[in-house]
């Protein structure tokens, strides 16, 4: 008869093995990834937005997305949220009498909803088949339908609620903004920024956009300032540097020729906060607003990306398969001893 003490001892051994498989020891803690230095993005300035939805229409057109109807007469595309067929939407904040633009009390404001292109995206970490990938150079979070298995873990993982699935199709794909990367080879950039009449959505390198955002925050509300439209030029970029540069980076310097579209506008009553500078480890799409970001529909997020936490746990437990193999070795040793003992027991049974 095995004694209780023996049993407890083997329980402890087994418990230690079990704890070793799951205890998240922070030996190889994975830090939140920073933005790639040449990463591309958008700057959305809610105080400049007039809610015309030109960007929504342009996004639909260039991504060949079907219209969505939410009113009785199906005359116009009327999506209520981003979806598998709507990658970009301007939402509205309303309060009270809605008299004043960009006021929280009795006012209204707009907010662009589209992929934030996180520095350390949850969707990329979640995707089991690398259908969501972050381009190491541009930082664009791109989707590959041919790789995707449709598990929708990316949809569940994203705190901005961005990747969306086409539930209406038997072969549904995930739909999300990819910063119009399919148009870059022709010298086009994100359609939403291309068509924005007020420069509320501006395309460029995130580092340049961040500097531009901080420039605006430093100005005095009500003063006049030059607001660029379309694409924000790189500080060192030669004006109209179109065409091949022979270094395989055509999309970086090969944007289509455009005249300077900047104009004079009044500085908004900004909150001193560039949304996306640090949220969830930073994003490549940045936002400015006069209305509280949470009220306008942007989540309040910590500076650490959850992808870093998740991958730290996974790599601590399974890195190089060291821990599973060690535990398997121990279990094999114990199981072998006990199974052999049982065989002998069986022999005795028969005799």
């Amino acid at each position: 008869m095995t004694t209780r003490r023996n049993f407890l001892r083997s329980c402890l051994a087994g418990g230690a093995a079990a704890a070793a498989t799951v205890a998240p020891v922070a030996v190889s803690a994975r830090e939140t990834h920073p933005r790639p230095p040449e990463g591309l993005g958008l700057l959305y300035d809610a105080t400049l937005c007039i809610g015309c939805q030109a960007c929504v229409a342009a996004c639909k057109r260039v991504n060949e997305n079907t219209p969505e109807f939410n009113v009785m007469d199906k005359l116009w595309d009327t999506p209520l949220d981003t979806s598998g067929h709507t990658f970009n939407l301007i939402k509205m904040y309303r309060h009270g009498t809605m008299e004043t633009k960009d006021a929280e009390e009795n006012g209204y404001s707009f907010m662009k909803t589209s992929c934030m292109h996180c520095a350390d995206p949850s969707c990329v970490s979640a995707c089991p088949v690398s259908a969501m990938k972050k381009d190491p150079e541009t930082g664009i979070v791109g989707y590959d339908a041919d790789a995707c298995i449709g598990c929708r873990y990316c949809v569940a993982a994203c705190p901005f609620g961005i990747p969306k699935y086409q539930y209406d199709s038997p072969t549904g794909k995930i739909g999300k903004c990819e910063l119009c990367r399919h148009r870059h080879q022709d010298g086009h950039y994100s359609a939403c920024a291309e068509v924005c009449p007020t420069g509320a959505t501006l395309f460029g390198r995130t580092e340049d956009l961040l500097a531009e955002a901080k420039r605006r925050l430093a100005l005095k509300p009500g003063d006049w300032t030059a607001i660029p439209r379309g694409r924000l030029r790189h500080a060192q970029e030669k004006v109209l540097a179109g065409g091949e540069d022979g270094k395989g980076a055509r999309h970086r310097h090969g944007w289509r020729d455009e005249p300077d579209q900047s104009y004079q506008a009044q500085v908004g009553h900004y909150l001193q906060h560039v949304y996306g500078e640090t949220e969830y480890g930073g994003t490549q799409v940045l936002k400015l607003s006069a209305v509280n970001f949470q009220k306008a529909g942007m989540p309040d997020l910590p500076p650490k990306a959850s992808a870093a936490t998740s991958e730290t746990i996974q790599h601590t437990l399974y890195g190089g398969l060291v821990m599973p193999i060690a535990v398997l070795g121990a279990l094999t040793f114990v199981a072998r001893r006990n199974v052999v003992a049982e065989e002998e027991g069986k022999e005795g049974d028969r005799s």
């Binding site: 498989t21 949850s122 089991p128 995707c148 598990c151 569940a156 705190p159 094999t332």
Partner: protein, 390 residues
Amino acid sequence: MSAHRHAAPTPVGGNLLNPTTLVCGALAIAMLTVLVARFLFGLGAVTNLNDGYPWGIWVVVDVIIGSAFACGGFSVAMLVYIFNRGHYHPLVRPALLASLFGYTLAGVGVIFDLGRYWNFWHIFWPGYANPNSVMFEVAVCISAYITVMWIEFSPTFMEKWGMKDARKKLDKVLFFFIALGTLLPMMHQSSLGTLLVVMGPQVNPLWQTPVVPLLYLLTAIAIGYGVVLFESCVASSAYRRQIEIHLLEPMAKVMLGVLGLYMAVRFGDLVVRGALANAFKPSLEAFVFWIENLAFLAPFALVGSTASRRNPARLFLAGIAIMVGGVFLRINGFLIGYDTGLGVDSGWNYFPSIAEMIVTAGMFALEVLGYIVITRRFPVLPREGGAAAH
């Protein structure tokens, strides 16, 4: 050790056509009808899934809870072969059988939910596979475990079909598959909890914690014992067999030990993270948190004493309580305590459609059906009367 001598498994026999199997068959057919519609018209045609709740009961119940319910085989095999408690051996085969069905169906059930199921093989294919993904680990591990379980269970078929040579060869290496069959569920049952981590603050702090893999592993083991209690009671009542109280009584004690450890980790973690206050807010999340934890505490009241553990009704109820706790832990984390966009969006809702429930019911019906067919025709349950054992 005399404890190794016990009744050899034998087929129960009897008719395969009875009210239970007919009901199960009907549910399975209803499930197939829904699945035809799902594959012809898409997930939206039959489910209430939406972009706020991209995972419904097909993932959370059929796969995450279904596989936890299928941990009986793992929990009992661990007791027998790792902790050398040979006298529990008669429980291994029936528990392994239930696990085999639970896991195989969970694996198949995933396909129904995959929006682009024809690409499924990508998850195992270098170049596509993403080792950073928790889902990747879960998928590979569960697939491997299903294979290992069929190997572990194959002696049953070999005995039935008289494949003595194959049986002998397998016996020589079976210890390795038993070890693998213990490691793999530890890995993926913990990772099923880790699936929550990347969702970050969208998951209520009551369920979002870096120790979530340990919570899911411990509850999977405890649920494993709970399911064995439940199944043993149901099987002995349905087949009018004697209940194996002499085995279930000490096993229930082991279960309480695992559960006690779990409760210590669970509340210790909540206190350390300062998240316990969320349990006292007047919210749905707090309400379901207490249902979950009362269900986990109930077995202590039900089968806390040796005398109460000899009462089959109490063992049965304790088994159910622990299963209910496991169900709530998982539904609470993945559905009730989950909020896309942290509440700043327009507000999403999810409640499963009838069609979704039909598929889930059909899956469980298939498991019951398979269990009945195999126990009646193959040597799984110990021979009635105890023979050489006691």
